[in-house]
């Protein structure tokens, strides 16, 4: 494990049923989700191993019931796992005492919920200050900090409102502000924008990207919306029936789906928007002429690709040549040919 790994989980199982630990001891590794179900257990999380690095945004993607929410709740020990280990910054969280766990959450973790999870009897400011109050900060400091975060999420002037007096988007801003109040290192977001209208969702995603550019947190983001995942993620983990089908960068998932299930997801996607020049760049070949930027998407390069006549176009990242892309291959991505 490198020092940069923040969350590391190995062979994590979360079973629901009468005697999950006893059942797991019988080694159901080979069993499929249906087999386990026939035995009277539900596999919320099935043998998942995954790592999250510092400053990375991992998006966990899956349909409802795929276990993505369960998995993220295992990371923060809102669920007790049945088997495997989860380490947060090198510490096995299952071995923490109740007080240690509370301290971990009070100082390191923040979480945003799908239906906001706001306390109805508290004002915006009191909701945001809630985690600070729980850790015993004095009234003055927590008020100051809460005002700061409220301003950060653009709710200035609404500090004294109660949640029910706000729109859905505004309520989720409160949820985000609350999760940021303690300046967490790790930020969990459980389908934060699913309950919002499409237009507001888009706006909140922009807002979220703006915040992340500023704060640079380690993020685990849950969504069932593949477009959202592609838009935000450094890496995407696609889950089905409690297991991770594939975990990779958006480009690689789109270009090389690991399973049939993942391929079906990527089918409808406009690959040209997702795939970047850097991914297509090959070491072996060297192109000539003006290079293109590695972080440009194929769609952005469309005009150039169509009009250019070179077979290989050099690609550079931060002014350094990293290889060249095969124009034919790039054009295939652009027109959606397999």
């Amino acid at each position: 494990m490198t020092t940069d790994t923040v969350i590391s989980c190995r062979n994590v199982w979360k079973l629901f049923g009468a005697d999950p630990a006893g059942y797991l001891a019988k080694k159901p590794e080979g069993h499929s989700y249906e087999d386990i179900r026939a035995d009277g257990y539900i596999a919320g999380v099935k043998d998942v191993s995954i790592e999250v690095s510092r400053g990375e945004m991992l998006v966990i993607m899956g349909l409802s019931g795929s276990g993505k929410s369960t998995l993220v709740r295992c990371f923060s020990r809102l669920h007790e796992i049945t088997g495997g280990t989860i380490e947060v910054e090198g510490q096995d969280i299952m071995s923490l005492s109740e007080q240690q766990l509370i301290d971990l959450r009070r100082n390191k973790m923040g979480m945003v919920f799908q239906s906001f999870g706001l306390l109805p009897h508290r004002t915006v400011l009191e909701n945001v200050a809630f985690p600070l109050e729980m850790r015993g900060q004095d009234k003055h400091t927590r008020r100051e900090r809460a005002l700061e975060v409220v301003k950060l999420v653009g709710l200035e002037g609404r500090e004294e409102y109660f949640p029910r007096e706000l729109s859905g988007g505004q309520q989720q801003r409160v949820g985000i502000a609350r999760s940021l109040a303690i300046e967490p290192d790790i930020w969990f977001l459980d389908e934060p924008f699913s309950a919002l209208d499409p237009l507001i969702r888009r706006e909140m995603q922009d807002e979220f990207l703006r915040l992340q550019a500023m704060l640079g947190k380690t993020i685990v983001f849950i969504t069932h919306d593949f477009d959202e995942a592609l838009r935000l993620a450094d890496r995407i983990a696609i889950m089905k029936d409690g297991a991770v089908e594939q975990c990779d960068t958006p480009d690689k998932i789109v270009l090389n789906p690991a399973t049939e299930y993942v391929r079906k997801f990527t089918e409808e996607i406009d690959k040209a928007r997702v795939v970047h020049a850097g991914v297509l760049a090959r070491d072996g070949i060297t192109g000539e002429g003006t290079p293109v930027d590695a972080s440009a998407s194929i769609q952005e390069l469309a005009k150039l690709l169509v009009q250019d006549t070179r077979a290989a176009i050099p690609v550079h990242r931060d002014g350094k040549l990293v290889g060249a892309l095969d124009r034919e291959e790039a054009l295939n991505v652009l027109v959606g040919a397999e």
Partner: protein, 660 residues
């Protein structure tokens, strides 16, 4: 779920359906009854011989004495009495000037009325302000301030006590399922136990007077608070709880800052029920000599002073409606924000105005005597005049003829023959009939309970009186069905009328049960008809209410589908609406029966020959054992109906795919 599978097993396993089994039981019962009429039935099967009846009362007495003296419970309760007595003395001093510490009362009536007005305004605008202040102004002007405050002084102690205990028990029941399982049956017995059964132990353990009254009232009001607390805590959204966890709450912080505030609505509904039950009970503590509105009403009705009874009735009703409306307004009142920079006095305007009005009237009362107290000769009571008016009205020939005719028809043609018929059924056959009823409606489990419960009633040695109690309940509820259900069906046809009738029912349900005796006694005097009449009115309220609710909540698509299928109004009612409304109506029917069991015991005061009469008699002595045996007879009969009907309603609801 478990009970449903039991039913299926039974149906498959025994070989015939429960309907057929119920039919067989009815047949056996009929044969036994016929045998009895022809004198062929062995007398053991008709009535249990005295010698076969176990001395439950003596056993219970021995047990009570053991707990009371040997385990030292009496010492403990007498110790608690001291503390309770002290608190009650304080409220008594403040509200009606009893000469005890702190010796500053009584608070002037104008001050209390003003504060009630401000609170009413804060919770619900001018209408509630008028109701709050108006109730107290009426009470003072009509000359009932002192007795009303005697009642209130117990209420303001009992209600918070019941709230705290209920909340605590509710939290425990939610946290520890074992505790929940343990108290569930105790709560349901407590809710069906007749109130006389609360009174005697209260007197024995907590001395006659306000202390016993407060204890009985408190215990009576606890069960709904427990249930509402548990319900509210279970309903808190899991995400809010997780948000609490992620904010780093300790267990205590989670309960205090997340669970309890989020369950606010249910807890406040519980508070509303606590207040209403406390008021209903505190009026009834008149039977153990608690002074106040109830005692006065009891005395006035006893001596047939209808005018004063009426006035006291109005006071009690006003108090009930006020407390109900104010506490309900509190339930729906949501916090509203103040703009930033609102000055301190503006944020607390309501409290400041209330305080200001209170102080102003307290000072005013020092100088203007009427503001402090309305004297004996100054009140506006029209007791005598109303009395004369009512009695003149009743003496009119057409009125008298009508009431007499109704009384005659009811008594001679319906009630007495029905009672004699029920009494003529052999005990064993009667029990079989009840089992058949429970089996047919509820299935195996209610049938087993019915068998056990009614056998216990038979063994108690109070069979005849139990049957008479049951007869009053059945006949009154049947009559209430004939009147209440059609009213409900008619009202449900239009939105306006549904709303009006529901409002009337809601208001009527807040009245303490004692009130229902007043119109019955006015019309029919102190007779057996009055008993049935008062139960009838009391039981009609839930029947009408749930009929409307059942019919109104039939999904619109279904009535629309019926309309499109070309159903006439009648066809729609009989084929679509009523079948779908039936489970909800059954809940109303069940409540009507529970209310009837409650009322029939109170009506003992008019003079009945049932369990209530005996129960009331035990209050004079220290016969705890007998008191409990009688009380349990009532509770066991009521529980049999409760279990059976509610089981049927929930089965039916599940079968129709309607959820609660």
């Amino acid at each position: 779920m478990a009970s449903i599978t039991v039913d299926e097993n039974m149906q498959g396993g025994v070989g015939f359906s429960r309907q057929r089994l119920a039919g067989i039981l009815v047949f056996v019962a009929v044969v036994m009854t016929i045998l009895q009429y022809t004198g062929l039935l062995p007398s053991v099967l008709h009535r249990l011989p005295e010698s076969a009846i176990p001395p439950f009362a003596t056993w219970l007495d021995a047990m009570f004495n053991f707990v009371k003296d040997d385990l030292g419970l009496l010492a403990l309760t007498r110790f608690l009495t001291e503390g309770l007595q002290w608190i009650l003395d304080v409220t008594a001093n403040l509200l009606f000037g009893k000469r005890r510490w702190p010796n500053i009362g009584p608070i002037p009536w104008t001050a209390i009325a003003a504060v009630a007005g401000v609170i009413g305004y804060y919770l619900g605008g001018w209408r509630l302000a008028l109701l709050g202040a108006g109730t107290f102004i009426w009470t003072a002007l009509i000359g009932q301030w002192k007795i009303a405050m005697e009642t209130m002084s117990v209420l303001v102690v009992a209600a918070p006590l019941a709230f705290v205990i209920g909340l605590g028990a509710g939290i425990l029941a939610w946290k520890y399922s074992a505790f929940n399982r343990a108290i569930k049956p105790i709560l349901s017995v407590l809710q069906t136990l007749p109130f006389f059964t609360y009174l005697l132990p209260a007197v024995i353990f907590f001395k006659v007077g306000p202390t016993a009254g407060a204890v009985a009232t408190t215990i009576y009001a606890i069960p709904p608070m427990v249930l509402m607390t548990t319900l509210g805590l279970q309903k808190v959204s899991p995400e809010v709880v997780e948000a609490g966890h992620m904010s780093g709450c300790t267990r205590w912080q989670l309960l205090r800052h997340v669970y309890l505030p989020s369950a606010r609505t249910e807890i406040l509904v519980g508070v509303n029920q606590v207040i209403m039950l406390c008021l209903a009970m505190v009026v009834l503590t008149a039977f153990i000599g608690m002074p106040g509105l109830g005692a006065k009403l009891l005395a006035m009705m006893g001596s047939f002073k209808l005018g004063r009874s009426f006035e006291i009735g109005v006071t009690i009703v006003l108090l009930a409606v006020m407390l109900d409306r104010l506490s309900k307004a509190w339930v729906v009142k949501q916090p509203e924000h103040f703009e930033r920079g609102t000055p301190w006095w503006k944020r607390h305007a309501t409290s400041l105005i209330a305080l200001g009005a209170f102080v102003f009237f307290c000072i005013l009362a020092q100088f203007v005597e009427v503001a402090a107290e309305i004297g004996r000769k100054q009140n506006f009571s029209q007791g005598k005049e109303i009395d004369t008016a009512i009695k003149t009205f009743l003496a009119f020939d057409p009125v008298q003829n009508t009431t007499n005719a109704m009384r005659y028809v009811l008594n001679v043609w319906i009630l007495n023959p029905f009672r004699d018929f029920l009494l003529s059924i052999p005990t064993s056959a009667f029990i079989l009939l009840v089992i058949a009823f429970a089996l047919w409606l509820g299935g195996k489990r209610p049938a087993i309970y019915a068998a056990i419960f009614f056998s216990l009633v038979a063994l108690s040695g109070w069979w005849d009186r139990s049957v008479i109690t049951l007869y009053s309940v059945i006949s009154a509820v049947s009559l209430a069905l004939l009147i209440g259900v059609p009213i409900g069906i008619l009202a449900a046809r239009s939105d306006t009328w549904s709303r009006r009738v529901l409002l009337a029912c809601d208001t009527a349900q807040t009245f303490p049960s004692f009130i229902y005796l007043i119109p019955a006694i006015m019309l029919f005097g102190i007779t057996a008809t009055s008993v049935v009449m008062s139960i009838l009115i009391f039981a009609m309220v839930p029947l009408t209410r749930y009929t409307i609710e059942g019919l109104r909540t039939v999904p619109v698509e279904m009535t629309e589908a019926a309309d499109m299928a070309g159903a006439t109004r009648m066809q729609k009612l009989w084929k679509v609406q009523l079948p779908l409304a039936l489970p909800t109506m059954a809940v109303g029917f069940n409540q009507a029966i529970m209310f009837a069991f409650f009322m029939v015991i109170i009506a003992a005061f008019i003079g009945t020959q049932d369990l209530g009469q005996e129960l009331q008699r035990t209050l004079a002595g220290t016969d705890l054992g007998k008191n409990f045996v009688l009380g349990l007879c009532v509770a066991l009969m009521a529980l049999t109906f409760d279990l059976t009907i509610m089981k049927w309603a929930s089965d039916k609801k599940a079968a129709l795919g309607l959820d609660d």
